[in-house]
Each structure stands twice: as C-alpha cells, then as structure tokens.
C-alpha cells in the first residue's frame, strides 16, 4: 500500500545542510498498522509528512497504492490525498468556524460524495458525539475534539490513515479512550494505519513498529 525507497530529506540551515531523514526504505502492506517511534527530533513527523504526500523528499521515491507521488506537483498530490489519505493530528486541526458535523463532512464534500452528511453523522455517532454535532470546536473538550478529528479521518473514506501523535495533547485516560476508538474503527473499516507516537501503549497496539534515530531507521519489529 505504501512503498518508500531510499528517501532522504535535507534542509538548508545556518550551520549548513541539515539531514532530517537519511536513506529510509519502508514497505507497508494494506490493512497493516505501523507505529513510527523515536525521540523528539528523530524525524518521525517528517517521515509521516513525506509518506502522506504533504511534502516531497530530497531524494528517493514514495508510492501510495501503486502510484508514485514524489514527482507529482503539490496540486496532484492534493488529489492523491483526497482519494487515498485521512489524517488525525496532535493539534486536532479542526476548522473553528465549522460545527463538529461540518468539520466531519468536509473531506467527503471536497470529494463531492453525495452522502457526506450521512457518512459524517454515522462516524460522529460511532465516536459517541451524536449529541454534540452542532457544537463548535471551541465548545468541545480536547478529547472530544480529537474524536471529531477521528470521525473526520474515517468519513473521508480513504484507505490510508495517518495519525501524528494523536494522544499527544490529551491526558492518559482520554488518550487511552482515543486509542481504543482509533483501533476499533480501524478494525471495522480495514484501513492501513500509520501513526507517529512516542507512547509505548499506542505502539504496542500496532502490528509493526519502526524506530527512528537521528533520521535513520534503526529497527523494525
């Protein structure tokens, strides 16, 4: 489902070129769940942004569902994202001026799916927010906002789901509930899940974990 080969990412900095990722190759099969772990600054989020097509590598190639995305323009990658990718972010990234329901409907609307509202309602019910659909993000707690974000990720109907520290902004108890919810939904929907975390609990739930250290892939379990 996802194939990365010899990818590197370098950026210029005051002290010369900074190598964020170096020669990373990775293959993730459909319906697999993979945890990317490592210390702060090890390049986890950068790897996720490259795999999801939010950014392009300095060298190497990435394929999503069989088609290469590294040579595509930003707009072409946007179309690929719309078709294949869903996100859950550490900072939730909900649009403040939209209600919970409207936030969840948004990806389906962008794809021009006719049943955006039904899809959104369904997933909001699944995450237990049926009663709070008309609330704005600022009226919701952190855990509730992340549940809206999860509902949005699944409502996009995308086969691949990327999650960047989904429990990073939440307390332990709420985080645990979010993890349960994420895996439960993923199990039902049969999506490919790639998540970046430094939380052991979360990593353990995945079928595989890859460890990054200073921009290099050091182990796969």
């Amino acid at each position: 489902m996802i194939r990365a080969q010899h990818i590197t990412k370098s950026v210029p900095s005051y002290e010369g070129t900074l190598h964020i990722l170096q020669d990373i190759s990775l293959h993730i099969a459909a319906a697999e769940s993979v945890a990317v772990v490592g210390e702060s600054g090890s390049g986890k989020s950068t790897l996720l942004s490259l795999l999801a097509g939010l950014d392009t590598p300095t060298s190497g190639t990435i394929e999503l569902d069989g088609s290469g995305i590294t040579t595509l323009s930003e707009d072409q990658r946007a179309s690929v994202r719309a078709r294949l990718v869903g996100f859950v972010f550490q900072a939730f990234q909900l649009l403040p001026s939209l209600t919970a329901l409207e936030n969840v409907m948004l990806p389906a609307e962008l794809k021009q799916l006719p049943n955006a509202r039904q899809l959104a309602t369904h997933y909001l019910e699944r995450v237990g927010l049926a009663a709070r659909m008309r609330h704005y993000p600022r009226q919701l707690s952190g855990g509730e906002q992340q549940r809206v974000a999860i509902a949005r990720a699944f409502a996009s109907d995308a086969p691949i789901l990327f999650a960047d520290e989904p429990t990073g902004n939440l307390d332990t108890k709420t985080g645990a509930r979010i993890i349960d919810l994420l895996f439960e939904l993923n199990h039902d929907a049969d999506r490919t899940l790639v998540l970046v975390t430094h939380e052991e609990r979360l990593a353990k739930r995945c079928t595989r974990r890859v460890q990054l250290e200073a921009g290099r892939l050091v182990s796969e379990q």
């Binding site: 939010l54 930003e74 690929v80 719309a82 909900l94 001026s97 948004l106 996009s156």
Partner: protein, 830 residues
C-alpha cells in the same frame, strides 16, 4: 457543485464570525464613496442653482444687436423658459428741470427666470419679494434715483417720449452685478414700453440679453445648435463668467470636495487592505487543513474568490443603502444651515460605489487572497512551516495602482490624483526604508520585560514588519486628514481675505478733470478712503503691427469682456505699476523711449496674441495713437479695485479727453455722502456692488459650511481606519500579553508598555504625516487650487503630538479589555 460548496463554506464562515471585519471594511468603503459622492453631487447642484440666480437664469446669451426672433422660437422648441433683458443708459427727467443719467434695464414678462427681486412701495414700507418685473406703463427705480430727482413712489417720470408711473423702489435684483452699463442708478421698466420711449435708435449702445432656463440636457443641445449662428459680439455666458470671484470660489470648492471624496476613497481602500490581510492571515490554518484534506490550489482559490465576490456584492448593496442614509442625515443637517432645497442625486454615486468595490477587491484584496493558495499543507504538522511569504512589493504596487485608478475615477482630476498618489507612494517608500533599518538593526535579546519602555521598544523591533505596516497606515490616515485640514483652512482664509469687510462697494466713473479735485476732497472730508483716482481715456484698437484687427486670425476673437478687440476699451496711464499687478514679461517704462509704451494684461495679450515689441494702434478721439508693447501684467481680478487691460506710459495720452474713476468702501451709514456727490456732480456714473458682494459672501459662506461638513465625514472615516488598524495589531499582542501575565507581569507594566508602543508608533506616523502632508498641500495649493502657499510650522508640532495621542488613545481603548482579563481568559481566546 463547487460553487455550492464555496457558498456553503462562506455561510459557515459568516456564522462562525470570521467575516465581520472584512464585510465591515468593504461596506464602509462603499458607504463612504456613495455617501460622499451623493452629498457632494447634491451640494454642488444646490450651490450651482443658487449661483445661477446671479444671472437670474441658467445661461444667458449676450448680444449688441437685437435678438433674432428665431432664437426664441428655437428655445421654445427645446422646451426652455426664456426672457429678454435690455440694458442701456439714458437720461431720466422728472418735474421741470431734474434729470439724471440712469442705467435702464428693460425686462420681458418672464423675468427673472431664477431668483426674486425685492421691492418696496414706499420708503417706510417693508420689502416684498416678487418674481416679475414692473407691469407696462410703470417703472421701478433705485432709491438713489428718487433722492437725486426728488421723487417719491407714485410720482411720474419721463424716459424719452414716454411718461411712466414710478410704482416701487427696487432694493435687490438677482442679476444686479451683471451689466456693463450700470452707470448711474437703476431704472427697471417693461420691455413692451421701449418703442413708445423712442430712445433706442440705430447706433444706440444697447446690450441685449437672452435669459435661458430649463433641463440641462435640452439647454446644452440648444446652445450647441445656436453656437454657429453667434456673431463676433454675441456670446453665451454662465454664472462663472459674470463673477470671477465666485467662479474661482466655486471651482476651488468643487476641487476641495473632490479632494475630500478621494481621500475618503483612499481611507476606505486602506481599511479593505487591512481587513483582507487580517482575514487572510487568520485563514492560513484553514487553508492548510483544506489542503491536507486534498483540496487543490485552484479549489482553494475558487472558494475564496467566491467568498470575496459574494461579500463584495453584499457590501455594495449594504453600502449603497447606508451611504444614502448617511447622506440624507448630512443633508438634513446641512440644509438647515444652507437654507436651500438640495436637488436629488443621480445614479453616478451608486456606480462609483460599485466600481470602488470591484477595484478595491482586485487591488486590495486579491493579492492577499492569491497568497492563500500557496499555503503549504505542512502547516498542519508544524505551524511555523507553510506560511507563504507576502510579496510586499507586489502588494504595495497593486494597492497603489488600485488607489490611483479609484482616485482618478472619483475625482476625474489628474493633478489631484497625481498629488495624492505620489504622497502615498512617498510614504510607502519611507516606511519601507524604516522597516529595512529596523530589521537590520541588531535584534535585542528577549522581551526586555523589566521596564515598560524597553518592553515596548523590543516589541516594535521584534515585530518590525508589522510595526512598519501600522506606521504606514497611521501615516496615511493622519496625512490625509492633515492635508484636508490644511487645505480647508487655507481655502477659508483665502476667501475671508478676498472679501474683507471693507471691500470697495462703489465705483465712481465719468469724473471730469475739473471735477477730480472736488470729488477727491469731498470723499476725503467724509473720511472715505479711495483706491486713488485713475485717468481713463476711451479708445478703439485699430491695428496690430500695421494689420487691421479684422484681418488678424485670432483665437476667441469675441472673448474678453468690454476689452474685446472690436470694442471700445478704457485706456489709462500710470507712473508706477499698480498695486496687485505683477509683471510677467518685459519691463516697466523705459525712461528715454521716444514712442508711447504699452503694458497689456496677460489674459488679453494671450487672446489677442500680443507679445513684447508688437505695435498696437488705437483710435482715440478720431486720432491715431501707436504704442509698443513693453510689458505684460498679471492682475488679480478678484480684488474690487479699478483694473485696466491696457496701461500707457505717462504723457502718451496727453491732450486726449480723459475722465477719472475710483472705487471705495462706503458703509450704509454714510449713504448721504453719495447723495451729496450726485447732487453736486449729476453727470457722475456710479456702480454699486453691495448686492453683488452680499450674494458672493452668502454663497461662499454656504460653500464653507458644506466643506466643514464633508471634512467632518472624512475625519470620521479616518478614525475608523485607525481603529481597524489598531484592532488588527491586537491579535498578535493578545498571546504575548497572556504569557507575560501568566509569568507575573502586572497590568500596570503591560498598560504602560502598550501606551508607549502605540504612542511611539503614532509619534513617528505623525511626523511622517506632517512632512508628506506639507508636500501634498504645497502641490495642491500651488498647482490645483491656485492659492498662495506658506509653510505651516505648527503642523510639525501638532502632527506628531496628535498622532501619538490619537493612536495611543485608540490602542488603549481597544486593549483595555485584554489587560483587564485574566490570563486564562486570554489564553483560551488566543
């Protein structure tokens, strides 16, 4: 479908409260334009209508021959109202031996087409306003004529072969200042009685006027058809021709109002730019999320374009409604002061409002919106990434281009557009330079939170680009307000100086040389100060450089008043260059010249294409006199002093029959002096310009009130822009203040630091505004309004101080809520 989603997102955005400032700014822009344009149009209309009473008509055709009957029929066919007025001097007799030279005005039934006459049926009777002339068989006369001839209302008097009943005295005529033959007191009669008098014979000096009034379009069409039929001594006149003083005042008032309106437009443009910028910045995250969810850049752009188009449409509708409401409030206020009925405005203000919204949208909003499509989706992972760099130069360039086009569209005046645009561009350049210097200067470490001043200065430097933008906006707003204030003050001052209380209100003509000394001493005994006695010889120009006048090809051969080349002209001589005259070419008299020398007024020299060295021959008292042009003079026709088109060197006119003339101010309380003069010297000609002066003053007063009102409106929009700009800058300070508070900073420190920060930005802006406004005012006064310019030193004190106080006050007013709030509240909102 895409459009639908755009509309849905807009609706959601609206409901979420994100669009308030933008729609507000766009609406304010359209409101200002529509409101001021309507107001200016209506005020202009009213002032023009009022001024037209000066000629008792909208337009007038003046002729030295009887008016052809077909001109009147043609006027009828265009649906125009018309009246005829004849002016001629004649002797009026009363009793057995009393006689006086009077200025007769014979009017037809429709006179006056505009305005009213004031008459009295007896010396003690109250004045009565009438909109017609005397009936056939009756005459109305100036009270002075009654005094000189010893008559009272009801008596009989004779004009030529006919006898008339003097049925009223006339104290005010709308078009009193509009006659060349106002020698002597006025006698008003019905034109139907003229044949019976037999005073008009072939060769008589009579001025025939055709007064016209009606629909502007029809009038223009009529005059266009008439134009080719006009002879060399027939011309079409409007109010501007009758009163140079008033014409200039009206021109300047119009320029001022256009200027004020243009400034309103600029201020509105700034408000839009600020609001769009803020809207755009607040939407970076929004766009990043949309993009991470797979929206392409075209898609993002189309969303925002839909947003802005819908918003602009809404703003146009709201702005037109609000502008009209605002204008009607203003009109209600002002019509009390102006005591006039304002005509309704046309469709132009609404078109201007719409055009403003469209141009503002393209020039001020579009560049920022185009940036939105460049927001990277990476921003969802790292907020420090994916903020597109604003291309400042492109934004300023777009803005300035937009500004130039709107101001030009609005004012239709290239000079005003040039002055304002270069002012704005100059300010932009200086502010960019300052920003660059701020950014270059070493950035201080930390927030310097120990003292309020250090904290404020560190803040300004840390946010150099933002601070610069604010200084730019503050400067522009303050600059525009200062320009308006300065120009208005000069304008009103100029008008005040031009029409001082002791402006000469009487002209004495036809003073024979033996009478000169007597007149001089009589006036001196009565403590009446004159402009001096000027000799006057009437002559006719016959040739220029030996070529007969008729053979010379001249532009505007009929232009010029009684100094036209085919008419008689008043010549004078003078030792010295008269006061208020300025040499623009050549030099004053050469002491040893053998030939007579001639100095020509610059306007006439231009019309007659005369230059230094040309030889002009006159026929004076049947003799030929040739003089060389040795100088060209510019003179101020607005001063109520005897002025001459042509002055000869002393001695040139020796031996020719001369009379003298003078002008002076005579208060009402001293009217006995005039009676005494006329009794002693019945052949004197008197022109009284009191009524004219009064009318000019009234109109100028009204124009002044209108200007004050428009100034008020613009001041208000200036404050709105300042307010919006300060508000925008609060976003960034919000978080900073919350953090400082959390870390234990006391409200007092935050308050003082904000005060200092805003005050220093305001001080700098005020200084820049003072400098740039002086430059613009210099240009406007010397090149557009033609008013003398002198540096306003007070501006350099008031500008910076006023800027500091105003900006600091606004800043504190807006941030008071944040300072009082607890850190938790602020952090949650931020």
């Amino acid at each position: 479908m895409k459009l639908l989603l755009g509309v849905r997102l807009l609706w959601r955005d609206w409901r979420g409260g994100e669009l308030g400032l933008l729609i507000g700014a766009l609406t304010v822009a359209v409101t200002i334009v529509v409101g001021i344009a309507q107001f200016v149009e209506r005020i202009n209309g009213a002032i023009l209508a009022e001024s037209n009473e000066f000629i008792a008509a909208d337009r007038l055709v003046r002729s030295n021959k009887a008016l052809p009957q077909q001109w009147l029929q043609l006027a009828d066919s265009y649906g125009l109202r018309h009246a005829q007025v004849l002016h001629f001097p004649t002797m009026v007799l009363a009793g057995d031996d009393a006689m006086q030279l009077a200025a007769v005005k014979a009017v037809s039934a429709n006179y006056p087409l505009l305005g009213v006459l004031t008459i009295r049926s007896g010396a003690q009777q109250p004045g009565e306003e009438v909109a017609h002339g005397p009936p056939s068989g009756e005459v109305w006369a100036d009270p002075r004529l009654l005094q000189v001839l010893g008559l009272k209302v009801g008596d009989k008097l004779s004009v030529g072969n006919a006898e008339f009943k003097l049925s009223a005295v006339v104290t005010r005529e709308p078009d009193s200042g509009f006659s060349v033959f106002s020698y002597g007191p006025r006698l008003l009669m019905n034109s139907a009685d003229i044949p019976a008098t037999g005073v008009i014979q072939p060769g008589s000096r009579v001025q025939y006027n055709l007064l016209l009034q009606g629909d502007a379009r029809a009038l223009a069409d009529y005059l266009e058809e008439l134009q080719p039929q006009l002879g060399s001594n027939q011309r079409v006149l409007g109010v501007r021709d009758s009163q140079p003083t008033l014409a200039l005042a009206l021109d300047r008032a119009e320029s001022f109002l256009l200027l004020a309106g243009s400034m309103g437009v600029i201020l509105a443009g700034i408000a839009i730019a600020i609001a769009t910028r803020r809207y755009t910045e607040r939407h970076f995250d929004y766009v990043a999320i949309l993009r991470s969810l797979g929206a392409t850049s075209t898609r993002v752009l189309s969303f925002y374009l839909t947003h802005l188009l819908l918003l602009s449409a809404l703003a146009v509708v709201l702005g037109c409604l609000l502008g009209t409401a605002l204008q009607s409030v203003a009109v209600n206020t002002v019509s009390e002061v102006l005591r006039v009925n304002l005509p309704a405005a046309g469709g132009r203000p609404f078109m201007l409002g719409t055009a403003t919204a469209v141009i503002s949208f393209i020039a001020f909003a579009l560049p920022s919106i185009l940036h939105l499509q460049r927001v990277s989706p990476m921003r969802v992972l790292r907020r420090d990434l994916g903020t597109p760099d604003f291309n400042q130069r492109a934004i300023y360039l777009f803005g300035i281009l937009g500004l130039v086009s709107i101001v030009f569209l609005y004012s239709g005046n290239l000079k005003i557009t040039l002055a304002l645009s270069s002012g704005v561009a100059g300010v932009a350049a200086v502010v960019l330079l300052l920003t660059w210097l701020l950014l270059k200067s070493a950035r201080v470490t930390g927030m310097q939170a120990s003292s309020p001043i250090a904290l404020a200065l560190a803040g300004i430097r840390r946010r150099a680009a933002h601070s610069a933008l604010q200084v730019f906006v503050f400067t522009l707003a303050l600059m525009l307000l200062l320009v308006l204030l300065l120009v208005r003050t000069s304008l009103l001052e100029q008008w005040r100086l031009q029409m001082p209380a002791n402006t000469p209100n009487h002209f004495l003509l036809n003073i024979a040389p033996p009478q000169a000394e007597g007149v001089r001493s009589l006036l001196a005994d009565a403590n009446v100060e004159t402009a001096g006695l000027f000799p006057m010889v009437r002559g006719r120009i016959s040739t220029v450089n030996g070529i007969a006048l008729g053979k010379r090809k001249l532009q505007n051969a009929e232009a010029g008043n009684d100094a036209g080349p085919n008419r008689e002209i008043n010549l004078t001589w003078s030792e010295k260059l008269p006061v208020d005259n300025e040499l623009v070419a050549g030099s004053w008299w050469q002491p040893n010249a053998k030939q007579p020398q001639l100095s020509v007024e610059s306007g006439l020299a231009e019309r007659m294409q005369l230059s230094i060295g040309d030889k002009v021959s006159f026929i004076v008292a049947e003799q030929k006199l040739t003089a060389s042009v040795t100088s060209i003079r510019a003179l101020d026709w607005q001063q109520m002093r005897p002025n001459f088109f042509m002055i000869l060197s002393p001695g040139s006119l020796q031996g020719y029959p001369a009379t003298y003339m003078t002008s002076f101010y005579l208060p009402k309380t001293q009217s006995a002096v005039m009676l005494q003069l006329l009794k002693r010297y019945p052949t004197l000609g008197v022109i009284e310009v009191d009524a004219v002066l009064r009318q000019v003053r009234t109109i100028i007063d009204r124009v002044s009130s209108a200007i004050e009102l428009v100034l008020g409106l613009i001041l208000l929009s200036g404050v709105i822009v300042l307010f919006a700009s300060v508000q925008t800058s609060m976003d960034e300070r919000y978080m900073e203040q919350a953090i400082l508070k959390t870390l234990g900073a006391r409200s007092r420190l935050l308050f003082s630091s904000l005060l200092f920060e805003f005050a220093s930005l305001g001080l700098l802006a005020g200084l820049l505004a003072a400098l740039s406004s002086e430059a613009i005012v210099w240009f406007l006064q010397t090149r557009v309004l033609e008013i003398e310019y002198s540096v306003h030193f007070w501006v350099f004190a008031v500008g910076p101080m006023g800027g500091a106080v105003l900006v600091a006050a606004l800043g504190l007013m807006i941030s008071a809520r944040t300072i009082r709030a607890t850190p938790v509240q602020v952090l949650r909102e931020a």
